[in-house]
Symmetry: C2
Subunit: 647 residues, 2 copies
């Protein structure tokens, strides 16, 4: 019995949760509100429930009187569900059943899509771009004294049916000694061409049979963080993964400040060196963790945004930030890792994901490739949300893309108690529809110290549906709860009182915070609308959404639709791919098909500059409401709002 059902009375809501789940999180998933504001540390003592049927683990506390404990009272945040149970939430007398049904939608996150290695194999697409072939060559004698290279190539033709072969000077240099020290038994590493009429390049030659050891590395060069994965090309498995902050952070937090630094004398060289240093560090970590020989790594794929890619390749990025925003290139030529300062070995080839434009870079192309969007029939919206949001719409026939500046709200920037998604960040939220008391959840189930992006979205959605804020993000001043107050002329909602937090003051959500959120979501939504309009479609046409980027997995989809961050579609049709850049880089290591397709896909991705699209500003202004000036675009929300107004 690995899952259990929990029935919440008096709401009659039943939810199935994994065995071991905390009871309060089960309530969240069921859409049941329980007051709670200490993040699950059992400090506030508010999340009292009564166990009516079944046994539960934990939940006892000094904050409960002995007689309460006797009567079945528990603190929900301390309870673990270990079997089917029935619990009752004590509710205020003023709340009746009709109010209960006004609960907002249950929490619902996106289905997580992972690199689908098995399906690649089934489709015959598991074609690593680099293969190892063992050869047993005949020794030369007087009747057969062909050159070493010719011998190797002839046997590759005869023993392995390999043709159109070419090799490098370092391989030629190694060959004479290696052949003779290994009795003419060698393993060659061959790279497959990107074009069908290209050459099979012999990258390396090793003594004896090393075919079992063939590895690739996938790297995401993020503005903030660099991630690397070490992939076993025999099994397709990721043997090790590591990340580190991009060392360039010291020279500027965002791409624009990096570009400005790069324009100084020696700046470009410095930023190149620094990120290459970070990359080499990450590579050392994963090589050590996977316990492989660096010599056996033959391919490394890099994906990053346009600025990160140009800085990595030591290409002046100054034109990226200046109208008309010209990047240096879309496709980059074949390189070796050593060419760009990567110290793994001398022969590994480097694939650098192509860019579409100055603001739709290789990270997005990698996401489009890795998620399989470019092979899909359905019209799909791909969203990578960060300070900058990149949007792609299309399917296997066509693709259009753009980028917009969402501002840092989703990463905690410009929010009074905003923080990144780290321990202590409030990531989920519910509100009592009568008392306006909150139920908060923090990352790590500790006392709160701030609000992360997904928490912010949920708070805005829940407060909007309950009428705590209006469609402009302003608090209803008449609720009569001490949680809604004016401080120094700014209206705010108290999420947690000082003593319930890790801080020395109350944690609040302010109107300016909500304003920033609305601007951010409005920029993204209007970007999507403009992009679709440019290709003659509307948001109704979107059949599927793919979310990429750091925080997409935590977003409560219905809440994101409620505030108008995402268009309203069936949450089943939303998938989350996490770090799309890393995923694309990894998929390129597993199938040469992607390396072939990426050339045409990049050419197909029509880029729109929103600044050059007059309708964008109109769409933006219309999107500066919750969820939007036209609520008709959100029929499910509209229905819920109408039901609520009837009460």
């Amino acid at each position: 019995m690995n899952s259990c059902t929990v029935t919440f009375l008096p709401y009659d809501r039943v939810v199935t949760v994994p065995r071991g789940e905390s009871l309060i999180r089960a309530a969240l998933h069921a859409g049941v509100h329980i007051n709670a504001s200490c993040g699950g540390e059992g400090v506030c003592g508010k999340c009292r429930v009564i166990l009516e049927k079944g046994n539960i683990e934990g939940g006892l506390s000094e904050r409960l009187k002995p007689e309460e404990t006797e009567r079945g009272y528990r603190l929900a945040c301390l309870c673990k569900v270990v079997e089917d149970v029935v619990v009752r939430v004590p509710i205020e007398s003023s709340m009746d059943k009709s109010v209960m049904n006004l609960q907002v939608t249950p929490r619902r996150t996106a289905t997580i899509q992972q690199p689908d290695f098995e399906s690649l194999k089934e489709k015959g697409l598991f074609i690593p771009p680099v293969e190892k072939i063992f050869l047993s060559l005949p020794s030369p004698d007087a009747t057969n004294n062909m050159p070493d290279v010719t011998r190797l190539i002839e046997m590759l033709k005869h023993q392995a049916n390999e043709h159109r072969l070419e090799l490098t000077l370092p391989v030629i240099r190694k060959l004479p000694g290696l052949l003779r020290s290994h009795d003419f038994q060698v393993t060659v590493t061959v790279t497959r061409p990107v074009r069908d009429d290209g050459k099979n390049l012999i990258l390396n030659v090793q003594g004896g049979d090393t075919t079992a050891a063939n590895y690739a590395v996938a790297v995401d060069i993020g503005t903030t963080t660099v991630y690397g994965q070490l992939i076993d090309l025999a099994s397709g498995r990721c043997l090790a993964e590591a990340g580190d902050f991009n060392g360039q952070i010291s020279y500027g937090e965002d791409v624009i400040s990096r570009i400005i630094y790069a324009e100084k004398a020696g700046g470009l060289e410095k930023l190149h060196e620094v990120v290459v240093g970070t990359l080499n560090g990450v590579l050392q970590k994963i090589i050590a963790a996977a316990k492989v020989d660096a010599e056996d790594i033959s391919t490394i794929t890099f994906a990053g945004n346009t600025t990160m890619t140009q800085l990595f390749l030591k290409i002046d990025p100054r034109n990226i930030r200046r109208a008309p925003y010209v990047p240096v290139a879309t496709l980059y030529p074949p390189l070796t890792a050593a060419d760009v300062g990567i110290r793994i070995n001398d022969h590994a080839i480097a694939l650098v994901y192509p860019q579409v434009s100055s603001f739709v870079g290789g990270d997005i192309v990698a996401g489009v490739m890795g998620s399989g969007l470019y092979r899909q029939d359905e019209l799909t919206l791909f969203l990578d949300i960060g300070t900058n949001a990149e949007l792609v719409v299309g399917n296997k026939e066509w693709l259009a893309c753009t980028a917009c500046s969402a501002g840092p709200a989703f990463e905690g920037g410009g929010i009074e108690f905003g923080m990144r998604a780290a321990k202590g960040a409030i990531e989920d939220f519910s509100i009592d529809p009568v008392t306006y008391e909150p139920m908060i959840f923090t990352i790590g189930d500790v006392r709160p110290k701030g609000i992360c992006g997904s928490g912010l979205i949920t708070m805005a959605a829940v407060m909007f549906e309950h009428g705590v804020i209006n469609n402009r993000g302003k608090f209803n001043r008449d609720h009569g709860t001490p949680r809604i107050r004016e401080t120094n002329g700014v209206w705010e909602y108290v999420l947690a009182w000082k003593e319930e937090t890790q801080l020395d003051r109350d944690i609040v959500l302010t109107e300016p915070d909500l304003d920033n959120l609305i601007r951010a979501k409005g920029a993204i939504y209007s970007g999507c609308m403009t992009l679709l309009e440019e290709v003659g479609l509307s948001l109704d046409a979107v059949e599927r959404i793919i979310l990429a980027g750091g925080f997409g997995s935590y977003i409560d989809l219905e809440k994101a639709m409620t505030i108008g961050l995402l268009p309203e579609i069936d949450p089943d049709r939303v998938t989350f791919i996490g770090n799309g850049s890393l995923m694309g880089a990894r998929m390129s290591s597993l199938t040469n098909r992607i390396r072939k397709d990426v050339v045409t896909v990049t050419a197909k991705m029509t880029n729109f500059e929103l600044s050059e699209t007059p309708s964008y500003m109109d769409h933006y202004i219309a999107a500066m409401f919750l969820p939007h000036t036209e609520i008709e675009k959100f029929p499910r929300l509209k229905a819920r709002m109408e039901a609520r107004q009837k009460k």
Copy 2:
């Protein structure tokens, strides 16, 4: 009047010479013997002639009595021919007219073949492998903000009809700055592919219009000497040429000792460094002499023997000298000059001429390509004579090759007074058929100090035809001239008495010298025979001979045929190409056709190892005579010998 006729009495021989030619050299060309042993310094006073008609410049000497001068006597070596003249050679009373006709054949050297740029142009084959194209690109604006690289490539398509383009990372790095500092007016340097389906690689980009400055470099990496030529790809002209001793000489004189040195720890790296040092020095010289910008050199072609090539590329050559004599490769992959340590600029591409085998290297392939042998209908014998002689036979249909060790005799090695072809070397020779007095010619017309290869061949031929030596190279002991003598048990001929030389002793030609010469010519001739026999032909089938190598231009062809170094064919059908390696490298700079053809030509060149061919030793033994055991193979010589015997 740039040429004059000289009539020599009593022989009635008339010869046409350029105005200003020395009278004694005119005699040599006419096949007229005049005693002379001081090399033209007027010291020996033997070369007395009587001016019978016309005027001559110089020729007066204290060695002539006033009354002799009065009667028209002159020293031939001091005379310059400035108009048509008739001169009489005073001859011994014992010599009659019949003896005069026993003079050997007049001096006859090979026609010199030079890179035929005009004919390349006429045939439409002047297709330099690297071209410069000027482009005027539209500036980017909001409606056209394609990446810089895309803009460049699109305009190359539209303005220059260039397709299948690829470019390098350094070009990408230069592009953004260069475009904007030169108002989007740039010149790109494009390399043509070797294969028709290959890519046109953009090697470099420069601001403004630099199409007029497009240069190539051709390099011969000889074991002894390195030569470089700087070629203007607009006119096809050689703007500068320079040579230097290969710095590796300090580590061994010949390829075998270099290989042995390369086998020591650090030896390979040292020899690589040293030759690259020599090459960089030669390149600096020609760049300075031609006053070009090194940035405008886009291609450099290297040709050298297999050992020189492997050392240049830092590839262990140890298997070259060990049975079964395995070189590392035939073809080498595309490289940049910088890849192999050449410091011209970062982008120039390097073509390294392919090898056929350990002993038929890129210098020979270059000779075959540069001379056009591989495009000819006639069955041609290509001979590159040095310490090692390389032989190629064939035509446009097929090619076979081999190499044999001739020993150093032709370069002066193993010859008592042997020396390289330098000032003071006896390079030509005639003998008085009655008195056996010599007429010698030295390089630079100075007193002799040794004998060079072409002199040695002529001496042996002349002495053989006059019966001074027999067909085993032994002196006729009964001539009764003090010039033929036995010293310490060795028979020898005195070419110049001590006082006529630059040395402190007589300069002699010894029987061991002749023995070495016979071995050397025997090795080459039997190599040719074996090679032809292996392909089912005999030497009679040879329709054309191409001579390559340092000393071929000086060889008196009839003399070389007389001693059996060359098969007897019409001297008009012998051409000399000089440094075939350099010629091939230069031709590759002028026409991409050669770069395309060399792949198939190299594959076509069937190599025979003489050591693995049992008949070679039989042929060698048969060739250890003057001219050969079978004189029937030399019909012209046989006729002359028979005529002589009738006297």
